[in-house]
Amino acid sequence: MYSAKVMEHFQNPRNVGEIEDADGVGEIGNPVCGDIMKLYIKVKDGRIIEAKFKTFGCGAAIATSSMVTELVKGKTLEEAKKISRNTVAEALDGLPPIKMHCSNLAADALQKAIEDYKNKRNAKDQK
C-alpha cells in the first residue's frame, strides 16, 4: 500500500516535537477526518531554520508531516510557499490515491504556519 519511503518516515519520523518559542504555528485537520497536524517553524533572515511537528493520524499523515519538515528546512519563505501536497507526495515516492485527499495535509499546515508567522510579524511591526 505505502511506498518504502513512506514507511521509513512513518517509522522514523524526523523533527517530531514542538518549538516552544515558534515564530509560526500551523494547525490543520480534525478528528472526524482522522488526522490532526500541528506544525511549528522558526524563521531567521527570511529562512526557515527549524521545523517540528506533532501529528495524530495514519501512516501517510505522519510520513507527510515528517517529510514536510525535512523539505522546508533551510528554505526561504518564498521557496517554502511553493511546497504543495504534490511536492510532498512525490518526495515520498507517491501516496495511495485515497490518501492523497485526506491525509496529505502537511503542506497545508506548512502554509498555515508561514501565514501565522507573517501575521505575527505584521502585528509586531504595527506596534
Binding site: Q11, I36, C58, I98, S103
Partner: protein
Amino acid sequence: MRKIYLDHAATTPVRSEVLETMLPYFNEKFGNASSIHGFGRDAKVALEEAREKVAKILDASSSEIFFTGGGTESDNLAIKGTALANRKKGKHVITSKIEHHAILESCKFLEKEGLEVSYLPVDSKGLVDPEDLKKAIRGDTILVSIMYVNNEVGIIQPIEELCKIAKDRGIYFHTDAVQAMGKIAVDVQKLNVDMLAMSGHKIYGPKGVGAIYIRKGVRIIPLSHGGQHERSRRAGTENVPAIIGFAKALELVNKELESQNKHQKNLTKAFYKRLIESIPHMILHGDLNRRIPNTLNLSFKGVEGESVILSLDTKGVAVASGSACTSGTLEPSHVLSAMGIDPAIAQGAIRFSFGRDNTMQDVEYVAGILPEIVQRLRSISPLYAKKE
C-alpha cells in the same frame, strides 16, 4: 519474522480438514450438479449432503438452506429479495445503525427505489433497545433486519427478543449471523427468525461461498436470475467444492464451539488484563459481557488506528481498525459513532480478533510490544499530553 494473525473477524484461513474435503471436487468429481450423467450426479449428491449438514446444524429443513456467493450476497438477497417481493404488502423496512455495509447499502438501494427505512439507534454498549423496535414498527413494515453479532465490536444482540416483536406483528425478521456462526449455537427454530445469513470465510471455510436460511413460505425474489439452481432462489452453476467446504467448516466449528470459545476467551481475557496493566488511557468499546469471546475493540487515547496497525504490522502482527470493509474510507466507524464514541477516540479503535490457532505466547508477544508502540505514537501526537 514471527507472524501473528489477530484478525479472524476479517477472514480466517481455510482449515486443512476443510481443504481436504474440497480437493476431490476440483478435478475428480468436477461435474456440474445440474448434469444428469454420473459426473453430475456425484456433484449433486455431495451438494445435497452439504445442504443437509447445514440444515441439521441450524435445526432447519434442507429445503430451507440456500447456498450463495458469500455473506454479502446472503444479506442482499434477504433485504432486497423480500422487500421487493412484498412491495404490495408495505414499503417500510427496519434495521439498525450498526449493521454491516451489506445490509446498510442494500437498505439505501431500497430507499432509492422508493421504500422507507428506519435505522434503530444503539446504546453506548452497542445494544439495540427492543422498545425502540416496537416504536419503529408501522402498519406497512414488511421486514426487520438486525445483526446477530456486530463485526467491529463483537456485541451480541438479543435476537430472540427482537425477533419475537416482529413476528408477533407478522413481519419478516432477518438476522446477519455472519459473525455469530462458530461462536454461538444457532437454532433457527429457537430464534424463530425467517432468514439468517452466513459466510464461509469467517468460519475457517473458503471465501466466495455463503448460505442463507429462508423459512418455508417466505416470499422472496432472487438477486441473480437464470437457471433453476437452488430451487430458483439463486441462479448460477453451484460452486460444489466451496459449498462442501462451507458445510464441513460449519460442522467443525460447531463441534468445537465450546472448547474454542473457552480457548479464545482465555486468550482475550489474558490479553486484556495485560494491556490494562501496561497501557494507561485505554478504552474498551462495547459491553464486556455481551460479546463473542474472541473479539476486543480498543482505543488508546491520542493515537490513531491505522498507525497502530502499521506499527504492529512491521512486527508481523495483523490486526484491524474497524471492519476490513471500511478501510477504504477515512470516516470514523459508523458503529462506534452510533455508540456515541467521540470521533478522535473512534479513529483510534483497533479490533483484535483471536482464532483457533492463536496461543498464549501470541498474547504475550503482542501485549509485550504494544505499550511501546502506543507510547511512541503518543509522543508524536498533539492529542496526548505527556502528563496525562
